[in-house]
């Protein structure tokens, strides 16, 4: 099982400070939520964790079963789902799965089993032939998640997977995440929806590139003396 820790993570794009010294623990087997409004630094954090960006300062530390590890060691077990549309509109659900199967070099038996399971739990099996460009917002996100999950990752990074998705699909999506979390996968999901914070086992509240607080949702609320996560952000916003 992998866990990740960041220490004083900073990322600067020209004059813009996207992350300004963020340190938190992403302990193994839990469902972590990166909570924050637009521009808080959620996407930058996830891209840094996925090795798609290099920190301007600070570092990301990787551990495997409590021992020091590296990004290179974790990489084969890492799955990442970007926030923006990243699938091919002219390829069907089935063709996407086939494509990612070949990128991950899964054998036929594993692929049949995995894709069967995924199509069933996402209830996309009836839409195998449908092109990604013709899927609804929720189905599109589920297809993205399926492509990420095909290789049975042990670390899953999801960037605002429920953004722009209708409430019913959002609930379904979270049920999927719970099922995955039960398998002791390290899941890090970012969201701007405050109500989703309570669904996570750990939350990390980001505001304009800084970490406001980190911990179990209830403890975080208690420590801040706030009734809701919105309240913490409103207080934090006055800083």
């Amino acid at each position: 099982m992998f866990s990740i820790r960041t220490e004083g993570l900073r990322k600067q794009f020209g004059a813009v400070k996207a992350l300004d010294g963020v340190s938190f623990d992403l302990s193994a087997g839990l469902l972590h939520g990166l909570i924050g409004s637009d521009g808080a630094g959620k996407t930058t954090t996830l891209r840094l964790l996925a090795g798609l960006l290099r920190p301007s300062a600070g570092e990301v530390l990787y551990y495997r079963d409590g021992k020091d590890s590296s990004f290179a060691e974790m990489r084969p077990s890492l799955a990442y789902m970007p926030q923006q549309a990243s699938l091919y509109p002219d390829l069907s659900v089935g063709e996407h799965l086939e494509f990612f199967r070949e990128l991950y070099r899964l054998d036929a038996a594993t692929f049949t089993r995995r894709s069967g399971e995924l199509l069933e739990i996402t209830r996309l099996d009836k839409f195998r032939e449908r092109r990604a460009g013709k899927l609804s917002g929720g189905m599109y996100k589920k297809l993205g998640l399926m492509c990420a999950l095909l290789q049975s990752p042990s670390v899953l990074l999801l960037d605002e997977p429920t953004n722009g998705v209708d409430p019913i699909s959002r609930r379904e999506f979270w049920e999927l995440l719970y099922a995955l979390a039960a398998k002791k996968i390290l899941i890090i999901v970012s969201t701007a929806y405050m109500d989703e914070a309570e669904r996570c086992s750990r939350v990390h509240l980001l505001d304009r590139g800084r970490l406001l607080s980190s911990g179990e949702p209830r403890e975080v609320l208690k420590a801040a003396g706030a009734a809701s996560f919105e309240e913490i952000f409103i207080k934090g916003g006055g800083r």
Binding site: F13, R47, A50, G51, L52, L53, R54, R75, P76, L78, A79, Y80, M81, P82, Q84, A85, S86, L87, Y88, P89, D90, L91, E95, F99, F100, E102, L103, Y104, R105, G144, C147
Partner: protein, 370 residues
């Protein structure tokens, strides 16, 4: 796990084929455009000049003057127009040249003395002027024979010119293989210039980079299907060159295929390099058109011979794949050149292909850093 995998390159290639098959525009561009352009420009671009209008002021009106005019019109290149004011006709572009035959022309000719006429050219049209200059010695020789009764053999030294490979000096034979080079090169660059930039623009590159796929696998996976597509385009161009324009094909088809493959690889790699560096389809498209069209039109020897360029440009053209493929295509089509004659152009094409491929690979970003 993370070494090069042909399997993954094949997956990228297959995905690319699906994109192409589902995008009628790309398919039509790749298969239809080359034939259309070669046929269209093959007819339009013709360096031979016929029916040059010559305004003639015949102030002699004698038999020798009449004969001289006959010689001009019988050549097939000139159309003789009697004119009182030939210069006015030149000014108003109703004539391309003027011929002045002064009184006494026939008298001098009959007396065996040199008979003089003045031929005035419109120097503002350089290319026509040069062609007329080339036709004039022939007219002069014909005049010597028909007016003075001199046989060509009379000249103490006689040079007979015969053009090898293209006996009629048909400019189409010369143009069509050259046009094919330019159009195929442009098409190959354009097609690949869009592919990587498209992945960046629609966000799929972010997802691809988080998978185990390596840049070389992406590059090979993207080169292969477009290479095949352009090669099919070449086949159609070959057919139209042979069937529509009757261009002879003297060389080896296998050698032509090899030269095509090398040139297409170089052009596709150039497109990929642009795509990798630009990361935006519109920028990539503009750079592809400029870098794909201008050097190959002006510096490849298509119109202007490389040998007559200033020394710097002669060396500069060496880094341009179309310059080498131009030599190979014309050589194989018209001269039947073999591997030995084309060793240098083919080696240069291979070297440039590798260089451009290496550049694209080096420039390929594996992260999202700006």
């Amino acid at each position: 796990m993370n070494g090069f995998s042909l399997h993954r390159a094949w997956a990228i290639a297959r995905k690319e084929v699906m994109h192409v098959l589902r995008d009628p525009f790309t398919l039509a561009l790749a298969l239809g455009l080359p034939v259309m352009l070669v046929t269209f420009f093959g007819y339009a671009i013709d360096f031979e000049v016929r029916d040059i209008k010559v305004a003639v002021a015949d102030r002699d009106n004698g038999p020798a003057a009449r004969r001289l005019k006959e010689i001009f019109s019988a050549s097939g290149y000139f159309q003789v127009l009697e004119a009182a004011d030939p210069v006015g006709m030149l000014d108003s572009r109703r004539a391309d040249a003027a011929l002045f035959i002064e009184p006494g022309f026939s008298r001098d000719a009959q007396g065996g003395r040199p008979a003089r006429a003045q031929f005035v050219l419109d120097g503002s049209d350089n290319s026509k002027g040069a062609v007329m200059m080339a036709y004039l010695p022939g007219i002069q020789r014909a005049a010597a024979a028909r007016i003075y009764g001199l046989e060509p053999a009379f000249a103490p030294l006689s040079v007979e010119t015969r053009f090898l490979f293209n006996p009629e000096l048909s400019s189409r034979w010369f143009m069509v293989p050259g046009l094919a080079v330019i159009i195929i090169g442009l098409l190959a660059i354009l097609l690949t210039a869009m592919t990587v930039a498209r992945e960046w623009e629609n966000g799929s590159m972010e997802l691809l980079l988080s998978t185990p796929v390596r840049p070389l696998e992406i590059i090979i996976g993207k080169l292969a299907p477009y290479g095949l597509l352009v090669l099919t385009g070449v086949f159609f161009v070959y057919l139209s060159a042979r069937l529509v324009f009757g261009v002879p094909f003297e060389g080896s088809h296998l050698l032509f295929l090899l030269a095509c493959l090398l040139f297409i690889t170089a052009a596709l790699s150039q497109g990929l390099f642009i795509s990798v560096a630009a990361r935006q389809q519109q920028v990539a498209m503009q750079v592809a058109i400029i870098s794909g069209l201008l050097p190959s039109m002006l510096l490849s020897g298509f119109i202007f011979p490389v040998e007559s360029m200033p020394a710097f440009f002669q060396y500069f053209t060496m880094i341009l794949p179309p310059r080498w493929f131009m030599v190979a295509a014309r050589g194989i089509f018209l001269k039947g050149s073999g591997l030995a004659e084309l060793a240098v152009p083919l080696a240069a094409l291979a070297a440039l292909s590798l260089l451009l491929l290496a550049l694209a690979l080096k420039k390929f970003k594996t992260d999202l850093e700006p």
